[in-house]
């Protein structure tokens, strides 16, 4: 496996606030790597440091095993926070500036504009673009020069549902193109759908990392409700098979060990005189796992 990014004990503080705290992370070639964390957890600061626009206080990082020296960024396409372009220049002119910086000649700008559905607006000035168009132009810019890695920081931030759907479709296409992808987000659904690996950070610290599938708990979820709420509550508290209980609007949600067949719960409830009005078995989603991890 080729390691494309190796982060070792990376730290940065803003005054007394520790934004990133001894972060260790490895991204292998071909990974679609999600960096998950609530707002203020240090995702953007981490990306800023590995892209050399923010100075780390301590620790180190290395791209592509050091084979491209201290400036490997011509092999990387990245958006950090907001799309940053010259407002008085057109979409395609802004892409030409990026290509010039990367030393790319004769690039097919029309193809990337088509990829992000901006071909018809390529000669419009950047300041006339909607937020969704700006974000899509930023994605187009990341593809210039066919980079080995693309980095997206909160790519659907501030977009309306249509914009979110468009960007996610493009992200999926990018992730399926064989490139390595690093995506920072607080939207678990998109990380869950797009990423193969995930790292969860909070307050600058790495809480958990691994395959998206591995990070899911072994417990599965049971949604349960009965006509007698008090009796149901007592039953769940006393049941040896049920691990945790949570009340939501319409039903209770409890976690059950993966080795216990769910029908035992139903049978036990019946034996305790409970008539169930709602009983659904499902796997715990990454969101629930994320909330569990970040609460600890």
């Amino acid at each position: 496996m080729d390691t494309i990014l190796n982060i070792r004990d990376l730290s940065k503080s803003y005054g007394h606030i520790k934004a990133v705290d001894k972060l260790n992370l490895k991204v292998e070639k071909g990974d679609i790597f999600g960096i998950l964390g609530p707002n203020g957890s240090g995702k953007t600061t981490t990306l800023g440091m590995i892209l050399s626009i923010l100075k780390a206080d301590s620790g180190s990082f290395e791209w592509f095993g050091g084979q491209f020296g201290t400036n490997p960024r011509k092999k990387i396409g990245a958006i950090l926070e907001t799309p940053n372009f010259y407002p008085y220049k057109t979409g395609i002119e802004n892409l030409k500036i990026v290509a010039k910086i990367k030393g790319i000649n004769n690039f097919d700008f029309d193809s990337v504009m088509r990829l992000v559905n901006l071909e018809q607006r390529k000669t419009s000035k950047f300041r006339t673009y909607s937020l969704g168009m700006k974000q899509r132009l930023a994605i187009a810019a990341t593809m210039i020069g066919n980079p080995e890695v693309v980095i997206f920081d909160e790519p659907t931030n501030g977009l309306d549902p249509k914009g979110i759907a468009e960007v996610r479709t493009i992200l999926k296409r990018v992730s399926e193109s064989g490139r390595s992808v690093i995506m920072a987000s607080h939207i678990l659904d998109e990380v869950e759908k797009i990423c193969s690996h995930v790292a969860i950070i909070k307050n600058g610290k790495l809480l958990s990392t691994g395959l998206v599938g591995e990070l899911l708990s072994d417990d599965y979820l049971v949604e349960i409700n009965a006509f007698d709420d008090e009796k149901l509550k007592s039953f769940m508290k006393n049941s040896p098979y049920i691990n945790t209980i949570k009340k939501s609007n319409k039903y209770w949600t409890c976690t059950v060990d993966k080795n216990i067949p769910a029908e035992i719960i139903s049978k036990e409830a019946f034996n305790n005189g409970l008539i169930l009005s709602h009983f659904v078995i499902r796997k715990q989603s990454l969101e629930e796992e994320f909330l569990t991890i970040t609460k600890t």
């Binding site: 626009i53 960024r73 990387i76 950090l80 030409k96 990026v98 010039k100 910086i101």
Partner: protein
């Protein structure tokens, strides 16, 4: 990145920018015409207005009027070339896209050189034409008589204002505050420092003239000051630095401005 690539990149960035276009346009229009305002200044016992346009004086008067234009339009352009990149966050994006900080910095210095060369060329052509139009006979040798170094002095003056403007922008970052500090320092802060604080702390001496903006201004001073020196009854009275002193001190300060700018640009987060 190569020098030509960096310059081409800067031109690509700014060729559609309306503020940059206006600043260069106004400079270009006023450079050959501002001297005509001075023609109307009738000061008793001093050379008549028409002498402004003859060689060799036309170089000095044109350099003086040009120095105000360089300070006002091109020095401020130096501020804008940095603050606009910070404001639009394109400085950040340039680095993310693969440019090294050193190349980004060099690109800005090179474009300042190019603009200063353009300003100097305009100064030379407009002054030569104005002077020749006011000559009875055309003698090309007269164009450069006694004023061979006014052209590099004008280049140094313009470049120094631009580099000073860029340094202010790198340090302060905010567009409005940078502009305010650029103009305030040159027009008020340094004169106050020199003529009040310096004298209060160190007394009056020639060191009062070794401040950066004073040195830059003395590269193209108002020629009337030279007359004041000639007619002064005071022994060792001086108002101006010599051209050699002004050029040396200005060059040292340009190097200092570049060093300070690069240090802070390299050290800080973008």
């Amino acid at each position: 990145m190569k020098i030509t690539k960096l310059i081409n990149l800067e031109i690509l960035k700014y060729k559609d920018n309306s503020l940059v276009q206006m600043l260069l346009l106004f400079f270009s229009l006023l450079m050959p015409t501002a001297i005509f305002v001075m023609k109307n200044m009738q000061i008793p016992m001093l050379p008549g207005a028409n002498s402004y346009f003859s060689f060799p004086q036309v170089w000095e008067y044109q350099a003086y009027s040009g120095s105000w234009l360089s300070f006002f339009f091109l020095g401020y352009l130096g501020v804008y070339l940095i603050t606009s990149e910070i404001q639009y966050k394109t400085m950040r994006q340039n680095i993310i896209s693969g440019m090294s900080r050193a190349d980004f910095f060099k690109g800005k210095v090179y474009i300042a050189v190019l603009i200063s060369l353009y300003a100097t060329l305009l100064f030379f052509i407009s002054t030569a034409v104005i002077g020749l139009l006011h000559q009875d006979a055309y003698d090309l040798a007269e164009i450069f008589e006694k004023q061979a170094y006014v052209i590099p002095r004008f280049f140094l003056l313009t470049f120094a204002y631009m580099i000073f403007g860029m340094m202010i922008a790198y340090l302060i970052k905010k567009p409005g505050l940078s502009m305010f500090f650029y103009f305030s320092y040159i027009l008020f802060i340094e004169p106050l420092f020199r003529w009040w604080l310096h004298i209060k702390l160190f007394g009056q001496s020639k060191w009062i003239f070794y401040y950066p903006m004073n040195a830059i201004e003395d590269l193209a001073p108002l020629p009337l000051y030279k007359y004041a020196e000639n007619f002064s009854p005071k022994k060792d009275f001086f108002v101006l630095l010599s051209y050699t002193e002004a050029a040396s001190i200005s060059t040292v300060f340009v190097i200092i401005f570049i060093a300070i700018s690069y240090y802070f640009f390299n050290k800080r987060d973008i």
